[in-house]
Symmetry: C2
């Protein structure tokens, strides 16, 4: 993949995706001991960066194919992104979701007008369900990260970060990105390698789901042992993607790992000082920026999603009561 | 006051104040039955629009005066705005706050480096305390709304709304603004009258504190009977300002009134769909946009502040549990 694909995606999504702000709060900087800038993708349409890749991919389809419709597998944020982008462009959307996905994410996906098909993770074969639907209806599959148009769409976040970092006089910095399959992380890394090589991407993952960190350390794709057991549902993936891993390997620094408790405390501090709602999986990069040793350099954290329900927000607020 | 004062303020605060986004959520539009755009000033530095006016006023002082320092009276958001802007510009700041102001707001004001002097609303004379300090130390008083440089700073919000509304293809619309003394409301109204007369400002107030609504209805300044008893602490003022009222009268439509419960529900919906934290006084405009009859036209609501503590956020979330 090349930079011009990201630039082309930026043109296709312009006027549709939100140019999210790069937020900063002086009192949060004090806690971190450095300037922390937060690219607030929770403010993106549908509450996560996933809308960028979805709009990029749906808009790149031939009109004939788009009319037939699209299909996606997702436990939540990709589902909402595809459902919203498809509805905007008049493409029917079928979203195959695990029946234990967060209620808020299932409800929202339906509300965007998508046909939601629930399956049981334990007993049913998601890919078989999807393959049959795709074939009988002629639907185009929009993969969550191993799709060039999706990676290009997510990479538009990187183009904005480069501009906004320059405006904020950030000269050299780590750019921490919450990482699941690596679509966003690889897209941003590719964009920054092209337009702002002073900004170096580092993936951030939840404890126990550090496949990308281990893969980067040994130079070959590694797999997680489990697929559940963290509150960071948005970024639990078995292993880095076939398309994303080579990009990550070429352009990223070492991975970082945070605990669920650190993610909750970062959520609480984001509510308090940045006035934004993050979901746990969208808060791991900020958690590393706040709680890990990164020296005194400026740091940029991408806050990837905000689709937390009331119970999760309350849990985050409670984590602060105990520690502050 | 004239438009060029607002444009001059925009130049002074450029690169310091956040150009906050105009947010929109398709699922929230469905609840409202119209497109609702939210100017998210909760994402402004210090968590409210007050930073704009403070930076505008402090930066407009003669350097000699600035060096001596500034003084402000405020229960919270103006306090934080003045404290932060003064710290950035090397001006000592004394903030006189009522001892019953929200803890979070007192703590933050101190954290920006200001000298905070607490007084008892019942037994002490705020103005006397302030006058003596101002005289002995040569401090410049930054009033919260009856100050041309402050109104000009708040008015920069209106210049941004005009641009962002045009980008979002909003042609004619009401612009609802949470209104206390009217600094922000008059600043936005003046800006829009100059650059986007298709956008008409309407002040929004909490029940029982509708001095501006009544003042506009009768054409002369009216006073509230009480100064406490609403959760909307940020916008409880006794009457419209001497400078602000003539501007409000010249440029605003009729006022609107919302209940505390509507403000709480708007906070909850903002958390859920816009991923932003609002305080009750910062949510009344959105509450009117969502829950009042405004026909099917597009509407713009200014979300003026987000300095809510954990208990208030939990209260807002609980209000949704009961109604949704």
């Amino acid at each position: 993949m090349i930079l011009s694909q990201i630039e082309a995606a930026a043109e296709r999504i312009a006027g549709h995706a939100v140019r999210t702000p790069l937020l900063n709060a002086p009192l949060l900087d004090r806690i971190a001991g450095r300037r922390v800038f937060v690219k607030a993708e929770c403010l993106q349409k549908t509450g996560s960066f996933k809308y960028r890749g979805a709009r990029s991919a749906v808009s790149a389809l031939e009109p004939e194919l788009r009319k037939k419709g699209v299909i996606a597998f997702s436990s939540g944020n990709h589902a909402q992104g595809v459902a919203c982008a498809s509805a905007e462009m008049g493409a029917p959307a079928v979203i195959v979701m695990p029946s234990d996905a967060p209620r808020l994410k299932i409800d929202n996906t339906k509300a965007y007008g998508a046909e939601v098909i629930l399956y049981d993770r334990e007993t049913e074969d998601r890919d078989a369900i999807g393959a049959e639907l795709a074939e009988t209806r002629g639907l185009s599959l929009i993969k969550p990260f191993d799709n060039e148009m999706v990676i290009a769409g997510q990479g538009t976040t990187g183009l904005e970060i480069a501009q906004q970092a320059a405006e904020a006089d950030v000269e050299a910095s780590s750019v921490l990105v919450c990482c699941g399959g690596g679509g966003l992380t690889s897209g941003i890394a590719l964009a920054l390698a092209g337009v702002a090589p002073n900004l170096k991407v580092r993936p951030v993952e939840p404890q126990g789901f550090d496949d990308v960190t281990r893969s980067l350390a040994v130079g070959a794709p590694q797999t997680n042992n489990r697929m559940g057991g963290s509150i960071c549902d948005a970024i639990l993936t078995p292993s880095p993607g076939k398309l994303t891993f080579p990009i990550l390997k070429a352009h990223c620094g070492p991975g970082l790992i945070v605990s669920d408790d650190e993610a909750l405390r970062a959520m609480a501090l984001a509510l308090r000082y940045l006035k934004i709602v993050l979901e746990p999986g969208g808060a791991v990069a900020l958690a590393s920026a706040l709680f890990h040793d990164h020296g005194t350099d400026d740091i940029i954290a991408v806050a990837t999603g905000g689709n937390a329900d009331a119970a999760m927000i309350e849990k985050a607020l409670a984590s602060m009561d105990e520690t502050s």
